[in-house]
């Protein structure tokens, strides 16, 4: 009995992997087409954002702030936040947009969210790598002092983004008003994302408050991983892990409830 259910779990897992793979390819074709650089466009926007804002800051704030390069600092902040904003934007009404594919029983609604998020995630990572290599070439970016910590921070930050997407997607199907609130919410989020600062630059009171945000914890880890001893970082890895676990649980419950009521043309 236990063996057969394990076998079934393995089979279902293989089916879901196949479905997510197929959905990702389909998404890449519909979004970027097969012409010119194709799916490489996925990293174009985070790169442009990070690069241009970085340059802007370079000219307005000078080339370093608190002893770290401004371009690199802004760029490392912008790429993660683009992942979050794109992930959320792509999750809105994702079930309605893809409803014709729900005719195939093996496609689950969570697959839509996962496949879109994985594309954004890979795009963000590619942009990060590309930008770091180019900036290192210009001497504007340090060789990361702790690559493991940088990657761990990125993964935790991404995990929390994904868990938010899992909640946003079903909520956007439940109420149309939700959709109107999302742009302003992601905007308000910016100060709580750790984008423009290290927590150590803040007063102790503000520090404790900001460290409640899972984004800030992930961002501190990434920056500590890059600058090492040049910066002081405050973080607690359990904050993003626990927040993500709770959000994922809520999101999956919501998805299940919405799927039962979904009307498909």
């Amino acid at each position: 009995m236990a063996k057969s259910s394990l076998h079934r779990l393995r089979n279902s897992w293989a089916v879901q992997l196949r479905v997510i793979h197929a959905l990702m390819i389909r998404e890449l074709i519909t979004r970027f087409g097969r012409e010119n650089i194709g799916f490489l466009w996925v990293m174009a926007e985070p790169l442009l954002f990070a690069g241009l804002v970085g340059l802007l800051w370079h000219f307005t704030h000078g080339s370093t702030e608190h002893g770290v390069g401004v371009i690199a600092f802004v760029a490392t902040g912008y790429i993660p936040i683009t992942l979050f904003r794109h992930g959320v934007a792509r999750s809105v009404a994702v079930f309605t947009v893809n409803q014709s594919l729900l005719y195939h029983r093996q496609i689950k609604i969570v697959d839509f969210i996962l496949s879109r998020f994985i594309i954004e995630f890979l795009g963000g990572m590619m942009a990060y790598l590309f930008m770091a290599v180019v900036l290192i070439g210009f001497g504007e970016f340090p060789i990361p002092s702790d690559l493991g910590l940088l990657i761990a921070g990125w993964l935790l930050y991404s995990l929390f983004c994904l868990s938010v997407c899992l909640i946003i997607a079903p909520l956007s199907e439940m109420s149309e008003a939700m959709e109107k609130f999302i742009p302003v919410t992601t905007y308000i989020m910016i100060p709580f994302s750790g984008l423009f600062y290290m927590v150590s630059w803040m007063t102790p009171g503000a520090r404790d408050f900001l460290l409640l945000s899972p984004f800030v914890n992930g961002m501190e880890m990434m920056r500590k991983g890059i600058w090492g001893d040049q910066v002081t970082a405050y973080y607690n890895i359990w904050n993003p892990i626990i927040c993500s676990a709770i959000a994922i649980l809520m999101g999956l419950i919501l998805c299940r409830r919405v799927r039962r009521k979904l009307t498909i043309e």
Binding site: R18, V19, H21, A22, I25, R26, I29, T30, Q99, S100, L101, L102, Y103, H104, R105, Q106, I107, R259, R260, K261, L262, T263, I264, E265
Partner: protein, 215 residues
Amino acid sequence: MIICSDITKSYSHGGRHKPVLNGVNLAIHRGDRVGLLGRNGAGKSTLIKLIGGVEMPTSGKIIRGMSVSWPLGFNGGFQGSLTGLDNARFIARIYQREYADIRRFVEEFTELGKQLRMPVKTYSSGMRARLAFALSLAIEFECYLIDEIILVGDQNFQRKCRTEMFERRQDRSMIVASHSPEFLKHYCNKAIVIHQTKATMYDDVNEAVERYEAL
């Protein structure tokens, strides 16, 4: 075998509640060819979608003991912005089939030629029907769900469907929604009449047609 036990389905919108099916119990055996009769809006498509797992019943349970196709109808199953061949490739991937085999069958069965390289949203309903049938036949399901669509094709398509679906695959089960009594009398051995949220199974198709025509 497919078992529907005590299914109810209702749609609600803006506080209004519309029951479509209520207390439906059905058993469809291997090799059954079941015609689905009912007036417009009686719930034929809804029942097909529930059996196909596209929508979930409000209460009750559906047990599928064989592989069931997706509902072949005017909507659904395809991504309109992708070409016919891209859709075929997608479907080959998610059903774990060789794309080359599927493609060969689709090209031969649909006779759509270059049109297969055009987005599906540019297809006529007859062309969509060809593509949907070709793909589901290439995948080889044990039970086919067909929603009205069989009658939209031209003579040539209907002849092909007859040989592929009704002659070569006689061992398969089928659930067909149709408004054509002649078609059902000819090809089905059972029929379900849906009326006022109730579904009744008849072992004699003629009896079901009489009941339907008396509605």
